[in-house]
């Protein structure tokens, strides 16, 4: 149970959250027409006769969109409905050419499923998914193009959306954020949605109500079309606070649709229940019920990659990663893929088991590479250092060719230039000096050059060992094998 509470004047309040996520389906074409779905095209460049609702035009289902919805359902462990129905949701708006949206009302393609939230420190929570249905997106009204007119862009009109409806199972902004993060991770893993909230290909309607812990559910308000995880969290916080203030002042909550204004940090009413549309849902007579067989579902199941929860468990049990690192690595599929390539290449080159090198690989990846990427404003997808190159670098440390200290410098050059580690080491002459005679010679020179320090050391000032090590390393431009330096230096100092 979440202990997140809104502190009111009259005690603590619990917030109850449910999310309806609209996820744009990755597909070659729109849900019911052959028009393209690419983002960023010129306005009205991707509009078929069907999308523009020309007289006599008819929708025909795009099987790929159905397959993606089924795959998403399977990834959430949800019930798949072999029989579902497309309904018309009727309302007038300028960017809704048909005067209705084709959606699924009574019989959605996917039934109940589960999303497992990672709440940090190994804590998890199950949030129920009530259903996933397929529907058409509307076009876009542009009110800022002309002082008098509104322009309409129908590129988005008819694009397939999955509406993923959660149960009211979340109890804090953190949980809602974790839900969206996890859901986004899953759809990206399976490639059913790109999850880009800033481009609008994933948007959330947030249902918020408050209650005294243990009470019945309160009246909810729906905050429409929130387009980032950060805003979802903020919206929940301010909306819950607003509701608590109203109730504590003796008022009641009206069930209504609201908008979140991130600039003002407030929600405001869009339309009340009285103004709510009567959508007059009825089965779309232009489309037959959607039916498919077990083979279709099995093929969809077979097409699923290893999902984040399973992958995380494997990283921990088989590769020995800790919960935190495993969680970080699996959060994005590209990261997990990078890691697996890195470990495999490293194990092969070092002739060791993957389990023996995985933690080192994970530390380098989450530390050095992620740090550098972050600083450079890059992502793993456009990392200048490939997983294979990373493995080459780690092998050089593993086999003693370079020291960990030098490796950091080499990595910096790799990150800047994209060159291979071995080439850099070669070019810059950074190879570790592990020749006993050579190191001994330098040690002797350093000791001879610092008689005062030697005396103090021998008088008991042990800390000066570090000074001598540093001098030796300096003399070799850091290339001396530090283990050997330590090993050889001490007996000589001790005399």
């Amino acid at each position: 149970m979440s202990d997140y509470r809104i502190q009111g004047a009259k005690g603590d309040w619990e917030v109850v959250v449910g999310l309806e996520v609209h996820a744009q389906v990755i597909s070659n074409a729109k849900l019911f027409s052959g028009a393209s779905t690419e983002f960023g095209a010129e306005p009205n460049a991707q509009v078929s006769l069907v999308d523009a609702a020309m007289p006599g035009m008819l929708p025909t289902i795009n099987g790929e969109c159905v397959r993606q919805a089924v795959r998403t359902g399977l990834a959430l462990g949800a019930q798949i409905n072999k029989f579902s129905v497309f309904d018309r949701k009727n309302y007038f708006y300028a960017d809704l050419p048909q005067g209705y949206q084709i959606s699924q009302f009574k019989h959605p393609v996917v039934g109940e499923g589960i999303v497992l939230l990672d709440l940090g420190e190994g804590k998890t929570k199950e949030v129920g998914v009530e259903r996933i249905h397929l529907e058409q997106d509307a076009g876009k009204s542009m009110h800022d193009q002309h002082p008098q007119f509104t322009y309409v862009d129908l590129n988005r009109s008819g694009v397939a959306l999955m509406e993923i409806v959660s149960m009211p199972d979340m109890r804090s902004p953190d949980e809602a954020g974790a839900y969206l993060t996890k859901l986004r991770s899953i759809v990206r893993y399976i490639g059913s949605c790109d999850g880009n909230m800033e481009q609008g290909s994933m948007r959330a309607d947030v249902n918020v109500s408050v209650r005294k812990p243990g009470d019945e559910l309160g009246t909810r308000c729906e905050i429409k079309n929130v387009n980032s995880i950060r805003f979802v969290r903020q919206a929940i916080e301010v909306e819950a606070r607003r509701q608590v203030d109203i109730i504590e002042a003796g008022g009641t909550i009206d069930q209504e649709t609201r908008l979140f204004d991130p600039n003002k940090g407030e929600t405001r009413s869009m339309r009340s229940k009285e103004e709510a549309h009567d959508y007059r849902y009825f089965p779309d007579p232009d489309l037959l019920p959607l039916e498919f067989d077990d083979a279709f579902i099995e093929a969809a199941q077979d097409s699923l990659p290893e999902l984040p929860d399973v992958k995380k468990a494997r990283f921990m049990s088989a590769l020995g990663l800790n919960d935190y690192n495993a969680g970080v690595l699996v959060a994005e599929k590209e990261q997990a893929d990078y890691f697996e390539t890195l470990v495999a290449a490293l194990a092969k080159a070092a002739k060791k088991d993957e389990a023996a090198v995985a933690v080192k690989a994970s530390n380098w990846l989450t530390g050095d590479l992620f740090g550098a990427l972050n600083k450079a404003g890059k992502t793993i997808a456009n990392s200048p250092v490939t997983a294979e190159q990373g493995a080459d670098l780690l092998v050089l440390i593993e086999d003693g060719t370079i020291s960990g200290r030098i490796a950091k410098d080499v990595f910096e050059i790799m990150f800047e230039t994209g060159k291979d580690a071995a080439a850099i080491v070669e070019e810059k002459g950074l190879k570790q000096v592990s020749d006993t005679g050579a190191i001994e010679k330098i040690i002797d020179e350093v000791i001879a050059a610092n008689p005062g320090q030697l005396e103090q050391y021998r008088a008991g000032k042990d800390k000066l060992l570090g000074f001598f090590v540093g001098q030796v390393m300096k003399a070799t431009q850091g290339k001396a094998n530090p283990g050997m330096v330590n090993q050889l230096l001490k007996p000589k100092l001790d005399g």
Binding site: M54, P55, G56, M57, G99, Y100, R280, F282, P285
Partner: protein, 494 residues
């Protein structure tokens, strides 16, 4: 010219064209002249002589090359609800003012692919809502037939009023039509023409302006049964662009016209004996029964117990779908747009739709909106869907016992203008015999079978099993032969 080419049937013209007795250009020019001369009937609301002549010349080239197809060189009229590329397509509504599609309906494309020639676009009730063609924005169509010794005009029936008037008035050899609750069969009966509504799913609805999607079906109007078989054969066929069209082969309908119905069982639904129905309709039906017996068929009384619920069911389902189908006519994208000065989006909707739709269309949008509304959906729409299933089950049971069903097409002959236009319920009753088969998706024809006491045409309806248009054609052919319907309207309009 040797004969009036406009009096020919499609089958005859097809054979004579092939023999080179005349060219499609000659045939088409004769029809273009007939179209011009038919202005009084108001059957055509858009004439396309240039297109017709170009198609005719192309057809002549095909014929010379020996590549004739079923409709090569045959001039036909097209109901205004079929999209024809670059040509007036408004379903005779004001709200589609100026609309010329950039696409062709599948049904008309099939006809052009088979070599047919387009004379123009035909008048109809607005959005196919009506049984008299009085709701057209382009004015009513006059029935070519007049009562004996009378100069009064009669309605041609609807909604395919222009289609039947053009064919009965010798201004087209055939015409496309559409039937939602009887819009092919009732006007065919009123004009002494043959009309065929095939099984739902036989013809593609792609490019047909929608009225009620689950009921709309295209079909032909022709001057006899054989022509209907030829023309439907061309119009029909599976289409991936219509999810409700069905992928089964189109049989050779003409080959079904064997004239032999010996041993066939013909059902007579007892519920179609309506109280107060004119005696001449009962008498015609009885004649039809005798013709069936004389041809060696066995006549069987059957029951279709839910018949009396068909009209109310239809007038819930069809307006419900229409209210949604017509939502796209909003002034935003095409057709009429009226915005009062300083008006906003809602004002544009009110004004455009208020002025763009006629009274009957508005009535049905309101009925449809009402029956789908929260709180009424279960009582009306959902219940109507259940009753629709029961009506379909009635037919299914009946067709376990019989091969075809024979009924009158309409409860009366053509009526006068204005006679029913102010009484929607009386108007809706026109469809009482045609609506049940529409709800069940079954094929049905109307065959000219005789004249009323005052000399107006009457039709008999033949209904068949789903996908068994062949039996409907065969039985229709037998009725046609037995009825020997040879009356013709006097050409008062030419």
């Amino acid at each position: 010219m040797m004969t009036d080419l406009t009096k020919l049937k499609i089958a005859d013209a097809r054979d004579l064209l092939k023999k080179g007795e005349f060219t499609s250009r000659e045939l088409t020019e004769a029809h273009i002249a007939a179209v011009e001369a038919s202005g009084t009937l108001n059957a055509y609301i858009e004439k396309t002589p240039d297109i017709a002549l170009a198609q005719a010349d192309a057809a002549d080239a095909v014929i010379r090359a020996g590549g004739s197809k079923s409709m090569t060189g045959i001039p036909v009229g097209i109901k205004d609800l079929f999209a024809t590329k670059g040509v007036h397509t408004q379903a005779c509504s004001h709200i589609l003012d100026g609309f010329k599609p950039e696409y062709e309906s599948s049904v008309t494309q099939n006809l052009w692919d088979d070599g047919a020639v387009m004379l123009g676009k035909l008048n109809m009730d607005e959005f196919a809502m009506g049984s008299s063609n009085e709701t057209s924005y382009y004015g009513a169509v006059k029935n070519p037939w007049r009562a004996e010794g009378s100069n009064n005009n009669y309605v041609p029936g609807g909604s395919s009023g222009g289609s039947v008037a053009s064919v009965a008035g010798y201004a087209a050899m055939g015409a496309t039509a559409s039937d939602t609750g009887g819009s092919i069969r009732q006007p065919a009966a009123f004009t002494g023409t043959f009309g065929m509504k095939p099984t739902y799913g036989r013809c593609s609805r792609y490019g047909m302006v929608a009225f009620a999607s689950s009921l709309d079906q295209a079909g032909p109007i022709t001057r006899d049964v054989r022509d209907g078989a030829i023309m439907l054969g061309s119009m029909a066929g599976y289409d991936v662009k219509d999810s409700t069209s069905v992928d089964i082969p189109v049989p050779n309908f003409e080959a079904a016209l064997t004239g032999d119905i010996r041993g066939m069982k013909i059902g007579i639904p007892q519920e179609y004996h309506l109280a107060g129905m004119p005696g001449e309709i009962e008498a015609l039906w009885h004649k039809g029964i005798e013709w069936m017996k004389a041809a060696g068929a066995e006549v069987v009384d059957i029951n279709l117990p839910h018949t009396r619920y068909a009209l109310p069911t239809y007038y819930i389902v069809a307006p419900a779908e229409a209210s949604s189908n017509l939502a796209r006519y909003d002034g935003v994208k095409y057709g009429l747009r009226n915005v009062p000065d300083g008006g906003n989006l809602d004002d544009m909707y009110y004004t455009t739709r208020g002025e763009g739709f006629g009274e009957e269309v508005k009535r049905r949008i309101m009925i449809g909106t009402y029956v789908l509304s929260a709180g009424y959906y279960d009582a009306y729409y959902l219940k109507a869907q259940k009753v629709r299933r029961l009506i379909a089950d009635d037919f299914k049971r009946a067709f376990e016992k019989v091969d075809a069903i024979l009924t009158p097409t309409a409860p009366s002959a053509a009526f006068a203008f204005g006679e029913k236009s102010n009484d929607p319920l009386a108007m809706y009753l026109n469809d009482v015999f045609t609506v049940p088969a529409s709800l069940a998706g079954l094929p049905g024809s109307s065959v000219p079978a005789g004249l009323s006491e005052n000399g107006l045409p009457l039709g008999l309806q033949v209904l068949g099993k789903a996908w068994d248009e062949e039996t409907v054609f065969r039985v229709s052919g037998v009725i046609e032969e037995a009825a020997a319907f040879s009356a013709q309207p006097e050409m008062w309009w030419r």
